[in-house]
Symmetry: C2
Subunit: 489 residues, 2 copies
Amino acid sequence: MEMEFSSRVQQKVPLSKIATNDGHGEISQYFDGWKAYDSDPYHPTRNPNGVIQMGLAENQLCFDLIQEWVLEHPEASICTAEGANNFMEIAIYQDYHGLQEFRNAVARFMEKVRGDRVRFDPNRIVMSGGATGACETLAFCLADRGDAFLVPTPYYPAYDRDLCWRTGVQLFPIICDSSNDFKVTRKSMEEAYQKAQESNIRVKGFLLNNPSNPLGTVLDREVLKEIVTFINDKNIHLISDEIYSATVFDQPDFVSISEIIEEDGVRCNRDLIHIVYSLSKDLGFPGFRVGIVYSYNDSVMSCARKMSSFGLISTQTQHFVKSILSDEKFIEKFISKSSERLAKRHSFFTGGLSQVGIGTLKSNAGLYFWMDLRKLLREPTVEAETELWRIIINEVKLNVSPGSSFHCSEPGWFRVCVANMDDECAKVALRRIHKFVLLYSKGITEPTTPKNHCRSRKLQLSLSFRRLDERMMIMSPHSPMASPLVRAT
Amino acid sequence: MEMEFSSRVQQKVPLSKIATNDGHGEISQYFDGWKAYDSDPYHPTRNPNGVIQMGLAENQLCFDLIQEWVLEHPEASICTAEGANNFMEIAIYQDYHGLQEFRNAVARFMEKVRGDRVRFDPNRIVMSGGATGACETLAFCLADRGDAFLVPTPYYPAYDRDLCWRTGVQLFPIICDSSNDFKVTRKSMEEAYQKAQESNIRVKGFLLNNPSNPLGTVLDREVLKEIVTFINDKNIHLISDEIYSATVFDQPDFVSISEIIEEDGVRCNRDLIHIVYSLSKDLGFPGFRVGIVYSYNDSVMSCARKMSSFGLISTQTQHFVKSILSDEKFIEKFISKSSERLAKRHSFFTGGLSQVGIGTLKSNAGLYFWMDLRKLLREPTVEAETELWRIIINEVKLNVSPGSSFHCSEPGWFRVCVANMDDECAKVALRRIHKFVLLYSKGITEPTTPKNHCRSRKLQLSLSFRRLDERMMIMSPHSPMASPLVRAT
């Protein structure tokens, strides 16, 4: 109905081109999966056959620690007897510089996360409405309509909305693939740059996401140096989105771009370097909309600060965040516990999957892993990937995100989020994957006419799922039953 | 130093056109005045000769009520023992629809403020980063680069930033003046529309601010109907910025555009109607960044909601706001007390000014009044207004805002904000104005050569200010001394 209405209106009173194009990026399987979850969400008792949300990179593993801290620190809030005296002062503060103590605390936290190997100037901390706002702010500051940023694939789907929709800037892919674990190389960067130039597209920057979403990997020093050399050679900007910098749960350590540019022997014009940060992932507060732009370029910093008027952080939240971040002892404990729990959850899934012969890209960061289902594809195409994804979401009832929605060049990869659920839900999810792999692998080997291949397989899956249910319910992910059974098929 | 750096950078690595233009609007006396205040802020004991901030439309008059409420309602916050159980649920909520209870409470509050004469659908409440974000969102939705919105003068200076800077949309003035108390007429609307068309500018909408900032007036039913007829005749959008709708302290009542379009006999395509709202003024929480877009157009609502990703309201704040707004009894008391205190403050200043022969536009809303200093101008030009303004800010040490920064067509008007200070500060401010008017009127009558006119008057003022200080310190604003003295000059 909305569409009907909308087309009538557009004829009568035109809206803007931006309002009527698809630059918001919601016409995508990434968001379709969210909608499928929203219409039938899993609940252990009320809707045990519902869709489990594994498409949301959310960190729910350490809220017990936060809650405990909150109760011990009523002065951290302006809505308690201990903090209410600050209510007016905080509620009316609307300066786009942000509370000085907030900036101090965020800068200090960013240093801590980088092992105190670099310093951040609190006066360069610029606020934005989440990383979403930070990315758009930088796009507005650095590039004109039609200009492009290079970005290695696969990349976070909403970058298209964040950097492009309202700015008119483009993202131009640097093609990476599994042959070298999706690492960006000088060759692939040059190729992309060349291709853009041939299409008469002006390249204004490079967008990096480190640690990577969806890969869950951290970039190593050599690759980072190569990128810094490249952007200096081309004289283009570098946006380093480091929103998962404290969400690293194994070796190797995270290395920030801020460390690379301070290394001996690295030649870099710092005016080209800009960092995006947020507390949505590392502290798990996506609702609080704490986004940060940190630019080494004075003009960009000054312009971004003016733009922050459109996405300031609530001062109630600034006040709370500065309080909790200033408790360095607590923060150290939090990061360490968070890593520990993430590592456990990660290995629960990746270990469980390897038992049924499913591989994942080796990773040590993020709230997800990159699952390799290439061998389950009917053929190595995006269509086949979409087919498989539909089965996973509609039959297996798991909202995982297909690689194509991350602009992955190789069909068959899926991002699976693991930190937005409790242990019980994780067990159910893994059980479903196990069951699916068992049945699906079996389905592939059975004879069907090519035409009916997909449909019959789907039907068979639906029936088999129910029959297998009882047997699977008693099968733990670490049960010896799983692996031999599958290896046999 | 920053500028030096910036020009060097711009040569080496160009930033965007947006980053390097002046669309942020900060090169203005409106912001110069803020800077003057920032560098020398008044404090009753620490800096009694500092600049008093009368350029900030901020409501500080009722925080005692809010604070009292906060202490009685610890469950309203997720950072108290009573509310901490909701911490995780609230902190991770990042849906751009916003918390349902928040939307319900805001819609209900908007109804209450309009005397329950209209209904608002909570599902049409779209979040934005303050009214700043709401205005930009609507501009992005409704118009393309180069398109224009008509706007009656004088108007809020930051509209230029909010609606134009990053969107490329223009504001095209509808000239209003004091001959009819700055009321917009059909004739003035038609003239502006015509003029835009002659300049080949496509008019896409009309931007209305009701109650008006800077005038402090509410629009009457007839004018509102005239505007609705006009925008329907031209088939253009109407943005009604109603952020001061609960900040009305005298008759006549505020009438919202939402009431007009429901009146019998009013022909209106509701797809053209969009309201901007915020809690920055009416509740006095500018730091909390609660901005609202309410559109009657489904396509605009749907697009604005997607855009709200760039300026979502912190869920910590959504949770608090829904709690306090849901206490209808408290809200009623708050609005009534707030009106009462504003009325008192308003008449303290306007009454005090009339004692020294200074007029103000009759008004009943907002956190300011519109002061008529036309008779103090050397000549009726913007230059003379700026000259006078410099004296007021540098010598009288009051940061009031000159009419030219509001695009006023008539030199000599100044906006004076009165609700961002306590009673003591208000007394000091009024005393300074009294003293200034006394001395300045005297200065004007004294013979000086035209060339040295301004300089000598300034010098004389500085000297006289100090000498008159003791006498004035004992003169209350309601003292009989003031008025006869001035009337004599």
